[in-house]
């Protein structure tokens, strides 16, 4: 008996012989030598984005193109900034190594880790970068987080994820900037199956219709709020706004990034990955207790595959509860949501669900699978989007 995403399954657990992923990851399968499908997926991505000179050349060619387009404009691109390692390092590289003039965009939902805030302030000050902070209406933010608890799926930060995307696109539209950089790296973070990381503004809307208590602000192209469904995505894409993940082409080594950021930008480690957002403390707790989910299995596995972590170290670390799960911060989050511990516990006791138990746009996206494939080839978004949504098993 094993609990997968909160559901009891009549299966024995099995762990990959190469990484630390196991059968608690939905959709995972194993080959004859005991290696998991996530490792196979990683190898496929490495074929698409090999770590070699050719990739670096592609990266520089793309950057040159972006610079050319940015000529006579104030900014070349937008970079999403959270104050965590990945986004701060990306900002550093963009300015110092690639000579770009980015506009940093931060989305504030009221749960920023103050350490990350200090990191952002230092980074933009030292690098001489303009920062645009898009702040949500906290009443909406709170409502959406409670909606996610009531919906009882592992997607507990749906609203914020959409809010971040919407903020980046709406600033890009307002400032007429055509490229959005983001600091994702499958080599260091891994790719989570969509059962754990499905990004769909229409799902947010449908959950909000069912469980929300206050109306959400309406979408405006340059002030998107929490609206980024298929329709809005199509609008921004047709307006020529593209996303780009430079780390897919760049030999990103976390340890080196840490040292450089500390030295150059007085950067402080927030304490854990994702801890630029205090709400992840609560999410990690709910994931462990209610869904038997440990995201470290995805991230550590990625680091093992890319030679940045020893498997034994990862296995030992997984025995310990993640530092992200801090009782004081969990209580802060509950208090900030304006609910009592009893109310929170009542949401914990709700039966688990999947995102596909609620109306969403996944079937529509599947219908547009081939246009999305073409969009990925034309560089409107990374090829990984297509792979993650249509090639990686998630059930």
């Amino acid at each position: 008996m094993l609990i997968v995403s909160g559901f009891k399954k009549e299966i024995e657990n099995q762990q990959c012989t190469r990484c630390v992923a196991d059968r608690t990851v939905p959709g995972i399968t194993f080959n004859d030598i005991g290696e998991c499908s996530l490792c196979t997926f990683h190898d496929k991505l490495t074929e698409i984005y090999p770590e070699n000179e050719n990739s670096l050349q592609k990266l520089h060619a793309r950057i040159d193109k972006i610079k050319q387009k940015g000529r006579n404009k104030k900014y070349d691109c937008i970079i999403g900034l959270s104050g965590g390692r990945d986004s701060t390092y990306l900002l550093y590289l963009a300015v110092k190594e690639w000579g770009l003039r980015p506009l940093a965009v931060h989305f504030n939902d009221g749960f920023d880790n103050p350490i990350a805030g200090e990191n952002m302030l230092q980074a933009v000050r030292i690098l001489g970068v303009d920062l645009r902070t898009i702040t949500s209406d906290f009443r909406e933010c709170k409502d959406l987080k409670i909606v996610d608890l009531k919906a009882s799926t592992p997607l507990l930060n749906n609203g914020t994820d959409i809010g971040i995307g919407a903020a980046l696109y709406s600033v890009a539209y307002k400032e007429k900037i055509k490229t959005i950089f983001y600091g994702q790296s499958y080599r260091t973070e891994g790719i989570r199956p969509i059962a754990w990381a499905y990004f769909d503004g229409d799902l947010v809307r449908s959950l909000h219709r069912k469980f929300g208590t206050i109306p959400l602000k309406k979408w405006q192209p340059s002030q998107a709020g929490y609206n980024l469904g298929v329709k809005e995505m199509a609008f921004y894409t047709l307006n020529g706004i593209k996303t780009f993940a430079p780390f897919y082409y760049y030999p990103y080594v976390r340890k080196e990034a840490d040292e450089l950021l500390k030295q150059e930008l007085n950067w402080q480690y927030p304490g854990a990955h994702y801890y630029d957002d205090l709400y992840w403390s609560l999410i990690t707790y709910v994931h462990r207790v209610k869904f038997n989910i440990d995201f470290r299995k995805i991230a550590y596995s990625a680091l093992i595959r890319s030679g940045q972590m020893e498997r034994d170290f990862a296995l030992n670390s997984l025995q310990e509860r993640y530092v992200l799960e801090d009782e004081k911060v969990i209580n802060l989050c509950i208090k900030r949501l304006g609910i009592s511990r009893e109310e929170f516990d009542s949401y914990m006791a709700l039966p688990p669900k999947h995102f596909w138990d609620y109306p969403n746009s996944y079937s529509l996206l599947r219908l547009f699978k081939y246009p999305i494939w073409i969009g990925a080839r034309l560089g409107f978004f990374t090829k990984i989007v297509y792979e993650k949504y249509f090639a990686l098993a998630y059930k």
Partner: protein
């Protein structure tokens, strides 16, 4: 007089975290050789946060005592805002602590906003305090509203050679860095006081997101102000998520006028 403008990140209902951050700002001000640090209004619980009803403390009390200890330890003057409890009443209060750790002055906010009425009682006193720097007057945030400037005028006429105002200036959540967040809402009245009486006026606001209470959905974005006695403006940076310190050297007013001389001086200036 070197003053540290301590734009503190204040999280609603999180006194321990806020006070710990205030301590770090005080240490930074000491490193920067400031003689006084001015911190924001109600920095313990945040302005109009619902925790005011259960978690306010007396003055003197454990929170004010802690700041007195810090002032003495670092030999720095501290002016800050706290949520004060007295019997069953609560006040939006600011205190001035000397470098030897004594609370030498206390002011309770007078010009409360309507949304504050359920949270705080109205202050009923206004006074100035003699210090080695000169006479210091303290008021709080909206005490300096353009339509309440009689309070600042009164402090100046009591002989204040500088006015310090811990604040929590709020703006709508949609305001972003490229905008002028307050327009002339604060600059105009503070500059009026500074230039009419030839005294510096300094107001430090908190930064952060309002998470609870009647102003939930608004935020504080810094841009604190120090206006010199000649009307020169020093502004804190726009930011809503990190504490920050800005230092400013200010010459205090020379305290040359008294009583009716103020009226004569003002009339002369108006020609």
């Amino acid at each position: 007089m070197k003053i540290g403008i301590g734009q503190l990140l204040v999280e609603g209902g999180e006194p321990e975290r806020n006070i710990e951050r205030a301590k770090r700002l005080i240490e930074r001000a000491v490193e920067a050789s400031c003689e006084l640090i001015l911190l924001p209004e109600t920095l313990d619980l945040a302005w109009t946060h619902p925790s005011v009803f259960d978690e306010a403390e007396t003055i003197p009390g454990k929170r004010s005592d802690y700041f007195c200890k810090l002032a003495k330890q670092h030999a720095i003057w501290i002016c800050l805002g706290l949520t004060e409890k007295e019997n069953d009443k609560r006040y939006n209060t600011s205190i001035l602590i000397s470098a030897s750790g004594e609370t030498v002055h206390k002011h309770r906010k007078i010009n409360l906003l309507e949304v504050e009425f359920p949270f705080y009682e109205t202050g009923n006193q206004l006074s100035v305090c003699e210090t080695p720097f000169g006479r210091i007057g303290i008021n709080i945030c909206a005490d300096n509203y353009a339509d309440a400037l009689c309070l600042g005028h009164s402090l100046a006429r009591m002989g204040a050679q500088i006015i310090l105002a811990p604040s929590s200036w709020t703006v709508d959540h949609s305001i972003t860095e490229e905008m002028n967040p307050y327009k002339d809402k604060w600059i105009r009245p503070l500059t009026e006081l500074a230039t009419v009486y030839e005294i510096p006026v300094v107001s430090t606001t908190s930064v952060g997101y309002i998470v609870g209470g009647p102003y939930e959905g608004k935020k504080m974005v810094g841009c604190s102000l120090a206006i010199s006695k000649n009307g020169e403006i020093t502004e804190g940076e726009f930011n809503e998520f990190a504490s920050d310190l800005k230092c400013v050297d200010l010459e205090l007013g020379d305290g040359k006028w008294k009583g009716t001389q103020f009226g004569q001086m003002i009339n002369r200036k108006r020609g």
